[in-house]
Subunit: 499 residues, 2 copies
């Protein structure tokens, strides 16, 4: 039995290496690659996907899993080998349903589509991107057809990012949030612009501030790096090789690289905190997209827009951008980075309107995938809903339906996890604050070690040992619950109005 | 038969993709990777090497080659399918002799050794690197034992970089060069330092100049990028995705990034000029290391240190570095970048003493691999020979035996190809000048298109279609001949002395 386990682990380690190689190629594609590399890169990642999928779905893995079933059933639920077998079996049973040819085609098309999306977004030319979206939707439909019908046709897409989660559960949470968020967001519609929010925020100063904050959050130079990217993201190639990306708006505080950096650093410290003995196994990454987003949003917002944080960091921020912030008080600045103000861009949105950006995408994705919405009608539907939920008139597709990278990589089902992450982040924060009594005082000193350590112990270390539902239960002490999040938004809104 | 050929090509394309993935990981390792990534990266590249080696040496490839032998023998010598089969068969017969386990171990150890070398070089601590060198030498010995004995024990190493070349041929060329180079280099020993050679050369200005020159050489932004690296190199992931690297000394004209950039751009335009229909096949790269070096050294030296080149570029150089060069004439500057002046560092060496750096390494490698030189004695042997050939007293191992990356990646047999490249570059240049009559005048205008086009048509386009010896015959019109190179050095020396 132990021979079979060692053999399985060796197979999984090599499969993990191929997946990591692919991740390096995809990081490079988004961070470095000259445009001339796009065509060949699609071949490279497709070949990696083909080998990985063939190896993982091989009968050999199935036979080993079968031989190891008695071991799996005999181990306590939290024994790491039992976790490994459980997670591997689940992944294997899903992957087994998808023919390698389809997996390869999805990889090839979405790799090529990335550059098409970058170009279409730069030109604000949705019609140029639409044929790619059609092809990707067709492929995703064929992908969905590999699985037995779920309770909801969207379940299969959601499951790729949030294993075990049902569309109905998301809908319940979002139905609770939507009217409240619309009401809260509406309060910000006529708020006047703070002039200092237009900068100037010199790029190099932003970069230095971003490095300082990511290091303070635990993203040290020996294991992390920060690069610019069109669409910021985080990826990791080992627990001590984590890549953050960011972007730099020089004339918009909401697009200051600090916020993207804190967001991606949240993802990064999660990956960095995974038990290193899980590396090169299916357990060696964060648990799910929603849990990942709970960390990116916790560090970006719950911490990164808090008054204690800015008590520590504002003097540095002010010194780095004297022309914009020289005569702006801490309190006024703190209000500005927390103000509710509906806008076009999800990643630059305030915490309240953010959720409405997500609900819009959740709805459109379901309509697109079910065929109720034609791709030709996406801009119109997008813009109408932006008007309805956020009261804004979208002026171009670059500011509208082309703004996000996700559809170009076929990531349908990803968006809802951002908002679930927001919800979970506040649940986790309440538990953390109960355990770490002087968290605020430490943050005011720029000391994030106790916060980091609590999160590492309760969440990061686990990797993918448990299901997302089990993991949320462990770290947040209960199932997903939107109430603490709504209370947090209401409290923030009230305290800022009173200030 | 055509089915078998298509099947073989499909296998080779996928093997090429895995090799490219590995090349991306190795580029990333040298350009981007935080030190924490080293351990895991060694696993990633080892897994890629294992799959690649297993796939390429499989009986399936052997059976296809056997079935295609009648086709190969029936095709004209220069038919591309015949070339493909010939080259693949040769590569396959070599690879087949090496067990996958050994290939994997070499990959793993040399990947880890890279960071050990970087650290040892930074600390000038040869004893810290020596255990790695011992391990690598042991592995390379086991590698050599996979092959039948050649005329010379060094042949097997040389063949990996210069297929078909014998150590005896190299020795004949180097024996002709060595006394002449020692004599020529000695003339520069007491030359006074030009004060402006100490800079300052601001890094950002160097970078802009480097970009300008690489673009002029044909390395356009849509297919190329330039990054800093500890040891400059060039790699390519497709003919339209070529990565150059360089480094920046702010206080030493010999270490100005322009020279590294021109060198790597020479490699890069060679890869960029390969017939794109050869991509994803064993023919889709430059022919051999010596031919590659003939191009890097041609663009760096024969063109990049010529008076016509500087007539065009010196005003830009002067404007970019006004403090150092503001009152330095073109003629004085041109003499400075061509002066013979023995120093410690190979890559910064003048064209004359460069060859002696190589001859030293060629000799030491043979002695190390045969066991005549123990690794403990490398610094002493290195320093003694530097004194004997170049008259310099090596002050530290960082400036001595630790300066080059090659031994850390097991690249024994590579060094001699640099000097063969120098020799070939002058042979090629003479032919080119006979065909492109107004080459000098065009270079004076910063127009390199005709030079580039001639090289592309006669050399780059061929890729690996023919053996190095055949390719040299085609492009240079004869076998390797050191006389034009010696005449070139003597002429340059005389004209600079007269100036």
């Amino acid at each position: 039995m132990s021979d079979a386990l060692a053999e399985l682990k060796e197979h999984l380690a090599r499969i993990s290496d191929l997946q990591t190689a692919r991740a390096v190629l995809e990081w490079d594609l988004q961070v470095n690659m000259p445009e001339g590399g796009a065509r060949a890169r699609a071949d490279h990642v497709t070949t990696l996907e083909t080998f990985t999928h063939d190896l993982f779905t091989s009968d050999e893995i199935g036979r080993l899993l079968e031989r190891l079933r008695p071991l799996e059933e005999s181990l306590p639920h939290d024994h790491v080998d039992g976790c490994l077998l459980r997670v591997t079996r689940r992944d294997w049973e899903k992957a087994k349903r998808v023919p390698t040819e389809l997996a390869a085609e999805i990889t090839h098309v979405t790799s090529e589509a990335h550059h098409a999306w970058v170009a279409a977004r730069a030109a604000s030319d949705y019609p140029a991107f639409r044929p790619w979206l059609d092809r990707i939707l067709d492929l995703k439909q064929r992908y969905a057809d590999c699985f037995p019908p779920g309770d909801d046709p969207y379940d299969v897409f959601l499951d790729d990012f949030e294993p075990g989660m049902k569309t109905a559960e998301v809908r319940t949470v979002f139905d609770r949030l939507k009217p409240e968020l619309i009401e809260l967001a509406a309060t910000g519609r006529d708020a006047p612009d703070e002039p200092f929010a237009r900068g100037p925020f010199a790029r190099e100063s932003q970069h230095q501030l971003s490095l300082e904050v990511m290091r303070a959050f635990g993203a040290d130079d020996s294991s992390f790096r920060l690069d610019p990217a069109v669409h910021p993201f985080c990826t990791s190639f080992s627990v001590t090789d984590v890549r953050l990306t960011t972007r730099y708006a020089e004339d918009d505080l909401a697009g200051h690289s600090l916020f993207s950096t804190m967001h991606e650093a949240g993802h990064g410290v999660y990956e960095h905190g995974v038990d290193p003995t899980l590396e090169r196994s299916p357990l060696g990454h964060g648990c799910s997209s929603a849990l990942h987003e709970s960390q990116s949003r916790l560090w970006e917002n719950v911490i990164g827009r808090s008054l204690p944080f800015w008590r520590w960091f504002y003097p540095r921020m002010q010194a780095a951008h004297p022309d914009a912030l020289g005569d702006v008080s801490l309190e006024r600045f703190h209000r500005a980075v927390n103000r509710v103000r509906p806008g076009f861009i999800r990643v630059d949105a305030d915490e309240t309107s953010y959720g409405l950006h997500i609900i819009l995408r959740f709805e459109l994705e379901q309509e697109l995938l079910s065929g109720r919405l034609r791709t030709a009608d996406v801009p119109e539907a997008w813009n109408a809903r932006m008007k309805e939920y956020l009261g804004v008139d979208v002026r171009s597709d670059a500011l509208g339906c082309l703004q996000d990278v996700h559809w170009s990589f076929g990531g349908f089902g990803y968006f809802p996890t951002y908002q679930l992450g927001n919800v979970i982040s506040v649940q986790i924060w309440e538990r953390l604050r109960a355990d770490v009594e002087d968290a605020d005082a430490m943050i005011e000193r720029g000391d994030f070690s106790a916060v980091h350590e609590w999160l590492r112990e309760k969440l990061y270390w686990l990797g993918r040992r448990f299901t997302p539902a089990e993991t949320i239960q462990r770290v947040a002490g209960g199932p997903i619950d939107p109430e603490p999040y709504l209370a947090y938004l209401r409290d923030k809104s009230a305290s800022l109005a009173a200030a």
